[in-house]
């Protein structure tokens, strides 16, 4: 019964989303405020229905209701409760439901947001968002229905893919989807502005919090996924330039550009047309990512969506929303008035440069991801585009951008002083160069680029710090005055500095991986293995039985030089339902570095063991967390706070109503 309610609610949500699209559009067209405001209530109802539907699926999973095909295929009665719960989105159908849930949640948030939006903009945005919901609800219902019943009812489920039975599954997809789907709001606002034919700083101010929110979650989602792959896959890699990874990275790059261009638009009323285009492109890349992942067009071996109907359906959605919005853009964008002027050397120009580099980086990933597909279609040639390609193309695009970042950040709006900005960063640059040189001589004979990478990271961190310091520290005043100046700085200034410092930290972590080392051997109990700074001794092996798996556990003593660290347990598991083996790496964190042990096959009375020394590797993810923290902090800036009390009397009070 619960299952049918869920199914029914989903179908109703589709109907309500149609209303959310059609009625407000018509209202905007007819200049009818009542009709235009229907979108808000429709968005709320639609969210409630999808939430009900989602709750129904969760209930079936938690109760192990094996009359539901989706539960049978992805769950097992012996699974711990948390994995029964996360199994809901550990598969295509359930994760589509999560996708739609988040999509409608954003619609509801827009409807509830108390910010004073022009009613036409709100109505248009909700209508556009409703149309996206219609497409994806229809996709879920007609090609990927998670509520299909089975008859006869099997006695036991087939278990969730063991790789996914991990806390990572609980956290990563929701974060990633909030990021992906969050950009649908920016897209909807862009479409609404194009239909309205009017766009101003007000639009940028309305859109910026949504962009920041989506970007922050996408950052967390990507970082979380990267860490999950690092510890779960068992060979210490953390980024692989795989098409499915690129699928999430492209919207991130475009979204990063978007955050910066909306700043220009909000502060200076410039870059309007470009910002609108970027908002459309960012969500288009999210859709493209969904297509890549779900259709299996690029990942045939590992994709489950081998059903061509699904691929075709999403391709149709993709073409409709990308093509439609770009056509709308081509038609309406010329109507938009150009905004403020700025000198070639100014903060605005710096942000334009930022956008050129980020757009190039994004396009590079785009071409690298899709070129093999295109080439095969056109010529029949099969080529591979792997990490060496991206190292040779993506990295050279990013390095100049990051080198210019601190300088751009110290330029003034409208008309800046390049020499002054360079001078303000000279100290940070000097320290960074010294750090790189010191490392270079210290690690003579080692990798050459790594010290330079660390230097770049140091420059970014110091540049961000000094930029803040300069706004707080003054020669004349005491620490009290500084404290109050620090408090007086807008949160977005702190957020910006944090995000930029976070990039620097990640770069240091990435560069340091050039010094990581690896050792592989067969160990018998009592034998030692050394890699880099770490030495491990195999103490012994012992079996253990988990709820739905059997494990063979190896215990290791760990030494860094003479210092003994806490022991490591690494294991191999066999999940009984699928008879599938997994490796659980053993990781010991030592400061910002990690010793990483993973087990291979048992042989010759011992076991194959790989030991990695991963210097400063935690900085990669700490940096991402700091970036996200910066995004979150900017989001709490008084300008964006949702319930911020209105300051003083609004100027509008003086003017008569329209």
């Amino acid at each position: 019964m619960i299952v049918e309610i869920g199914h029914y609610a989903l179908a109703l949500a589709l109907g309500v989303s149609v209303i959310q699209t059609v009625v407000p559009f018509w209202g905007v067209f007819r200049q009818d405020r009542t009709l235009a405001s229907v979108g808000s209530s429709a968005a709320l109802v639609s969210f409630a229905l999808v939430a009900l539907s989602f709750a129904a699926l969760v209930t079936s999973y938690v109760r192990s209701d094996f009359s539901v095909g989706n539960v049978v295929a992805n769950s097992h009665s012996a699974q711990p409760l948390i994995y029964k719960f996360t199994s809901v989105w550990g598969n295509h159908e359930g994760s589509m439901l999560l996708w739609v849930l988040i999509l409608t949640l954003f619609g509801a948030l827009v409807a509830l947001s108390r910010r004073s939006l022009p009613p036409r903009l709100r109505a248009g945005a909700l209508a556009a968002q409703g149309l996206v919901a219609v497409a994806f609800l229809a996709f879920t219902l007609f090609t990927s229905n998670p509520f299909q019943r089975l008859s006869p009812v099997p006695a036991e489920g087939q278990d969730l893919n063991p790789i996914l039975q991990d806390l990572g599954l609980a956290i990563h997809p929701p974060l990633l989807y909030i990021g992906y789907v969050g950009f649908s709001i920016t897209y909807a606002f862009a479409v609404a502005a194009l239909i309205d034919g009017r766009i101003d700083a007000m639009w940028a101010r309305a859109v910026r919090p949504w962009t920041l929110l989506a970007w922050t979650f996408l950052t967390l989602g990507i970082a979380m996924g990267s860490y999950w792959a690092y510890y779960e896959l068992g060979w210490g890699g953390w980024w692989f330039w795989d098409p499915v990874e690129n699928a999430s990275f492209m919207p991130w790059l475009a979204g990063t550009a978007l955050i910066h261009s909306t700043v220009v638009m909000e502060k200076r009323d410039a870059l309007k047309v470009w910002t609108i285009l970027l908002a459309i492109l960012t969500f288009s890349l999210s859709l493209l990512g969904t297509f890549i992942v779900r259709s299996g067009v690029l990942t045939s071996v590992h994709s489950f969506a081998t059903d061509p109907a699904r691929g075709l359906f999403i391709l149709f959605i993709l073409i409709f929303f990308v093509g439609g919005s770009l056509a709308l853009f081509a038609w309406r964008a010329p109507l938009l008035r150009q905004g403020g002027l700025f000198a070639p050397v100014s903060r605005e120009s710096a942000l334009v440069v930022n956008n050129v580099f980020l757009a190039t980086a994004c396009a590079t990933v785009f071409v690298g991801t899709l070129y093999p597909l295109l080439l095969e279609m056109v010529t029949g040639d099969k080529i591979s585009v792997g990490p060496p390609f991206y190292n040779a193309t993506f990295v050279p695009v990013m390095v100049p951008l990051l080198l210019l970042l601190p300088i751009g950040q110290s330029l003034a709006w409208k008309r800046g002083d390049l020499l002054g900005a360079a001078q303000r960063n000279a100290f940070a640059f000097g320290v960074a160069v010294l750090a790189a040189l010191a490392l270079l001589s210290f690690t003579r004979g080692g990798p050459v680029l790594a010290p330079l990478g660390v230097g770049l990271g140091v420059f970014l961190v110091l540049g961000a710090g000094f930029d803040l310091a300069e706004r707080i520290v003054t020669r004349a005043s005491g620490w009290r005055a500084m404290l109050s100046r620090a408090r007086g700085l807008p949160r977005s200034a702190w957020g910006t500095a944090l995000a930029h410092a976070g990039v620097g930290l990640s770069i240091i972590g990435i560069a340091a991986q050039a010094w990581s080392s690896e050792a592989i051997t067969v160990l018998k109990p009592g034998e030692r293995l050394t890699s880099g700074r770490y030495t491990i001794t195999l103490e012994g092996m012992s079996p253990r039985t988990g709820p739905n798996f059997r494990a063979e556990i190896a215990r290791f003593q760990v030494f860094s030089g003479d210092r003994e660290l806490a022991p490591i347990e690494a294991s191999k598991r066999i999940y009984t339902a699928r008879a599938m083996p997994t490796t659980e790496a053993g990781i010991r964190t030592d400061g910002l570095s990690q010793a990483y042990v993973s087990l291979g096959e048992a042989q010759d009375g011992g076991v194959a063991v790989r030991l990695y020394d991963k210097p400063l590797i935690l900085l990669i993810w700490i940096g991402s967390l700091v970036m996200a923290l910066g995004g979150g902090l900017s989001l709490t800036d008084r300008r964006f706070r949702l319930a911020a009390p209105k300051r003083a009397a609004p100027a509008a009070a003086v003017q008569p109503a329209e």
Partner: protein
């Protein structure tokens, strides 16, 4: 690799548990082994998704790793080893696509896109600067009279 794929539950067939290089494959000569590792890192495991043979646990990847080591022990230089593998499996095996007529656009894309973007911004900037600096049209006689009148009123 297929992190997000696996996260989304996309993997049905192959467990991506990395065993990759096994202890029994490792060459006693450390320098040769180092070369073998760096060559393997650039060769694609043909039955995997975007994974190098150095990272893959597929049996075919193991065969290729052993093949690479055999060629190195036989005295081939790095290029000869790679050529040997490419002759067997085609360019598809290279994770770094070779530069040729078919991949010119791929390798050129980042530069072309950057140049196009920079050129657009440059032209746009010149255009806007032109609008700003353009000298306003000279005053008409009527306007001049009005200005004169205003100035006179001010003084008077």
């Amino acid at each position: 690799m297929r992190r997000i794929a696996l996260i989304l539950g996309l993997i049905l067939l192959v467990a991506p548990v990395a065993q990759a290089v096994q202890p029994d494959e490792i060459l006693p000569n450390a320098a040769l082994e180092q070369r073998a590792r760096s060559i393997s890192g650039g060769l694609r495991c043909l039955v995997c998704q975007n994974q190098s043979i150095d990272d893959s646990d597929a049996p075919l990847a193991r065969d290729l790793r052993i093949l690479v080591r055999e060629r190195l022990v036989a005295g081939d230089d790095d290029k000869a080893v790679v050529d040997f593998v490419v002759a067997r499996y085609g360019d598809f095996v290279l994770l770094r696509p070779p530069l040729n007529a078919h991949t010119l656009l791929l390798w050129g894309a980042p530069f072309l896109i950057f140049l196009a973007g920079a050129a657009f911004v440059w032209r746009r900037g010149r255009q806007r600067a032109g609008e700003e600096n353009a000298t306003p049209a000279p005053l008409t006689d009527e306007e001049r009279n009005r200005v004169d009148k205003l100035l006179r009123d001010e003084q008077g």
